[in-house]
Symmetry: C2
Subunit: 282 residues, 2 copies
């Protein structure tokens, strides 16, 4: 596995791979790799000729008072995990190289980024789309892999790629969960033992929502109220949002119909966690 920190070197490697007719599979990450990321890498390994993973904690997608500074970083561990998952090139540019003095260009997807996580994290998705557009420019992947855990991010990145006719296929793979149902997240390391136990309520509330919908409930208010009750029983939990939206345009669904996304964001102590499930309703 090559480890590359220079943008121009990464760019040259991509150009060479493409010249050789090789397809590049790309997994953009912020490091602190877990099985969610690694499952993306292993899928990329199966379907593309060369797997590039980026590790870049993107300052642009963190707001004031968020956890940019303390976001978990363990490059040596990431390096080993990436290598074992079959990554061919690990690309880890510096923030100064990605956003040099005078940097001025931003990619914005309107509307889709306003609700859900966008409401409590203003500017977050602008940071995501900008860095992903730039990483696509450098890496030039045939396929880029994202996790369904960040459902809104996945929808927005797909929309950006479609709108700007980017020559990349965006694939979204299922959430990977721990045995207690908690969706894998780099931020789970922030949780105390007690908080970790409380964190399991996100998925339990989603499973309850799924059961209600599967049993025929179509009233979004009833489903989200039941979820809220369950979540608020946990001492360290504070709901940021609970939403049932259309999976494609992220607009609220009430009654629940079509291709639905049930999404939650909850603060467990000081840690903001997100999770979601999807439901096809006839």
């Amino acid at each position: 596995m090559k480890v590359v920190d220079s943008i121009s070197r990464m760019s040259t490697l991509s150009r060479m791979l493409k010249k050789e007719g090789k397809s590049i599979g790309f997994i953009p990450t912020m490091g602190a790799l877990h099985e969610g990321h690694l499952s993306l890498a292993r899928t990329a390994k199966k379907h593309t000729d060369a797997v590039v993973m980026s590790v870049f904690v993107n300052p642009l997608q963190f707001g004031a008072g968020e956890d940019y500074e303390r976001y978990p970083r363990d490059f040596k561990k990431d390096e080993m995990l990436a290598m074992n998952a079959g990554v061919d090139i690990l690309f880890c540019p510096s923030a100064e190289a990605m956003y040099p003095a005078g940097y001025a260009t931003y990619v914005v997807v309107e509307r889709l980024g306003d609700a859900l996580c966008g409401a409590s994290r203003p500017g977050h998705f602008r940071g995501v789309t900008t860095v992903v557009a730039k990483l696509f420019g450098i890496v030039r992947p045939a396929v880029a892999y994202f996790g369904q855990k960040d459902a809104q991010q996945a929808v927005i990145v797909k929309k950006m790629a479609e709108d700007l006719a980017m020559d990349v296929e965006v694939k979204v793979l299922p959430i990977v969960r721990d045995a207690d149902g908690v969706a894998l997240s780099s931020r789970n390391v922030y949780l105390s033992a007690e908080e970790r136990s409380d964190a399991a309520v996100l998925y339990r509330s989603l499973a309850q929502a799924a059961a209600m919908i599967d049993a025929g409930e179509r009233d979004a208010g009833k489903v989200t109220a039941a979820m809220r009750r369950m979540i608020e029983e946990r001492p360290s939990a504070k709901v940021d949002y609970i939403a049932i939206v259309d999976r494609k345009d992220l607009l609220p669904l009430d009654p629940i119909a079509g291709d639905a996304l049930v999404a939650v964001a909850v603060r467990i102590g000081k840690t903001r966690l997100i999770d979601n499930i999807t439901r096809k309703v006839p």
Copy 2:
């Protein structure tokens, strides 16, 4: 010469050309082709393997009350001129295909688009960068050619390509002028005979500025005041702006120093014309 109106077909052609190892030279235009555009195509022909020209009157870069509806369109003439200039593929998508219902993604270069033309045409450069990013996505050129007449546009597009690590070289070629000094522009067809004669004052005022700077004048206010006096003598002329700025960051230069751009925008009757010269000052 192929004429292609489908985005997916253009995309496929680009992919095939790249697979064959051919470099694509790209000239984005809004049609109403003149020698300025054609000189770009002929240069592309010399330096790249396949020349793609787009003809697309981009609604996104026109403001309310501007000339989107009446912007000159003569596709048959453009087709002939492009063919004679050596264009291999003429790409002419519809506005509906470029911006289908629900279109939501925009590329913005901050600061550089605020002054000069950006001040009197809010949103204009957002429209330019967005369409150029999308056209780059579809055409995937090795080299893209722009005219120096739209100096601010050229600076902004270069900045976008650099910031987003787009895999394209942006080349800017000199202004082509008529015998009376008027810079070629698709909008010149709007001018009456009298206005056309007045329009020559743009270049005359720039030539005067060049002479003053070359003679050692470094006071930007003196140079622009002399230009303004000359322009305002013409009955149909109304100055939009006269500016002396740094050629790279477009910030005002006073005293005049370094790599200077002297730029003017003038309304001649109802037609807004722009022109510029550059000066290297030791």
